[in-house]
Symmetry: C2
Subunit: 282 residues, 2 copies
């Protein structure tokens, strides 16, 4: 593996390059981003050596790390133009629509549908961090549809990055992600909105916000340019997750209205279990 091209030089694409070039210094990185500032930052930060819209013909792997609603068009265009020895991997947060879009593409086997479970509330090449992907989960969908020889390059890269592989159907992926990632971003944004709407004095918010509020509202700093497209791509599952969330909130509110504090206590006690689950490996 000699050459990797990254389309989308933001937090994920940038962190990927920074981490991989450290363990595989022999690889040349080229890349492209539709935003000129990102292009310049990516060069200055050493994320890629050269900015070019079209990857060289001898590029081994092309990474798509653009917003979720932009991937399918770029993926199809990229598959159309590459030679037989190039693998395309995407890092999108939604997988079902994307896998459907290329299901019948003649070069389907040159594509690997991936999703690294990693991110921060910040975005752009300046937010990229060498250790962002380290020991994180990388989900692969429809693994069997990718050519076995090309797939070897993906495994080599993911192993070099210390990532843990998980395999899943695209629909299962999107459904789970709606609950365990997309919903928490929405709950956080709406918490931020509710507080901003109500507390006009920002100094009061700052003074009274303990570490608990800061933690719960952290994702409300996330990039709208990344998240609006995810809501578009995973609409069905996100709507289901939101309905259940709103219904749970309403039932909890009803218990408060009814002064059912023993019921509230018991319900919170059951939910405490989430702590054990998140500490599974500790």
């Amino acid at each position: 593996m000699k050459k990797i091209h990254i389309i989308g030089l933001g937090l994920l694409g940038g962190s990927f390059a920074l981490a991989l070039k450290k363990v595989k210094p022999e690889i040349t990185f080229t890349g492209y981003d539709s935003n000129i500032d990102n292009q310049n930052d990516a060069k200055v930060l050493g994320i890629v050596g050269e900015i070019k819209e079209n990857p060289d013909a001898d590029t081994d792997v092309i990474i798509l790390a653009v917003p979720a609603n932009a991937i399918s068009e770029i993926l199809i265009k990229t598959l159309d133009s590459i030679g037989p020895d190039t693998l395309v991997i995407d890092f999108g947060s939604t997988k079902e629509a994307l896998c459907n879009a290329v299901a019948d593409h003649p070069k389907r086997e040159q594509y690997l549908a991936g999703h690294p479970i990693a991110g921060t509330e910040y975005s752009g090449p300046k937010a990229a961090k060498e250790d962002l992907l380290d020991k994180k989960v990388f989900i692969i969908c429809e693994m069997d549809k990718t050519n076995i020889h090309l797939k070897g390059m993906a495994y080599e890269i993911l192993e070099a990055l210390n990532m843990k592989l998980r395999f899943m159907n695209p629909d299962e992926h999107d459904k789970h992600l709606a609950f365990v990632s997309h919903l928490s971003h929405i709950s956080s944004f709406m918490l931020g909105k509710t507080v901003l709407d109500k507390m006009e004095d920002e100094k009061n918010i700052f003074d009274m916000a303990g570490s608990g509020f800061a933690s719960t509202v952290r994702l409300a700093k996330s990039s709208p340019a990344m998240w609006a497209p995810i809501m578009e791509e995973n609409k069905k599952n996100i709507l289901e997750a939101m309905s259940l969330y709103i219904s749970n909130l309403s039932k909890f509110r009803d218990k408060i209205i009814a002064d059912d504090y023993e019921g509230l206590y018991q319900e919170m006690l059951k939910i405490n279990k989430i702590g054990d689950i998140l500490n599974l490996e500790k």
Copy 2:
């Protein structure tokens, strides 16, 4: 100041004692907790030197760090029994009902209504940390109602702990706290519930949960014994905060249903401002 008695030897009461005895080693700490395990832990951890239900007559300051719905009864009983040189401070998360409960007490001026904005999702004396209160905000309500000489001891303690004082009416306090603290605990608990209800395979939750989910759901590990009483004490304001939160979620969902991704983008962009507010002093 020679003697402090702490009723409630959990996270807050314990952290208070650990921090203060470091900077004021001349003070003797006694205390009480209705839970026998907490009593033993507090002694072993050096939080108090002696467990006793009733403070000595020459106790300078009595701290009430018990669940919100237990404070008012203990506060009245304590005021009834103390001599004229003792100050009582409470650390409760709600203030209006409490201030009303003692408004006409003959020893009202021996009470200071306080609330340290500090905590973690853990509870009990073992969770106590020497630095929990360091540089945190301490809200004082109805400051004018406390005797000026006794108040001097509170200032001495809070300064020794590096705490930043803020002054507020009890109703204003409870309203703001409902939004900036109580609501985020509820949103976090309900997020945990929604994910637990839906994702039966706990390994999947663990694998797919990024740091964003962990951050948003962290407060769902909080103690029900602390939080059910807060919902009881601050019912009115919490219901208002929840209604606005649910309404914001519903409107956001409507935008997704209507495929109004530009509207979602613009709304999230506005909410991003919460990040600037939380970073005010950085």
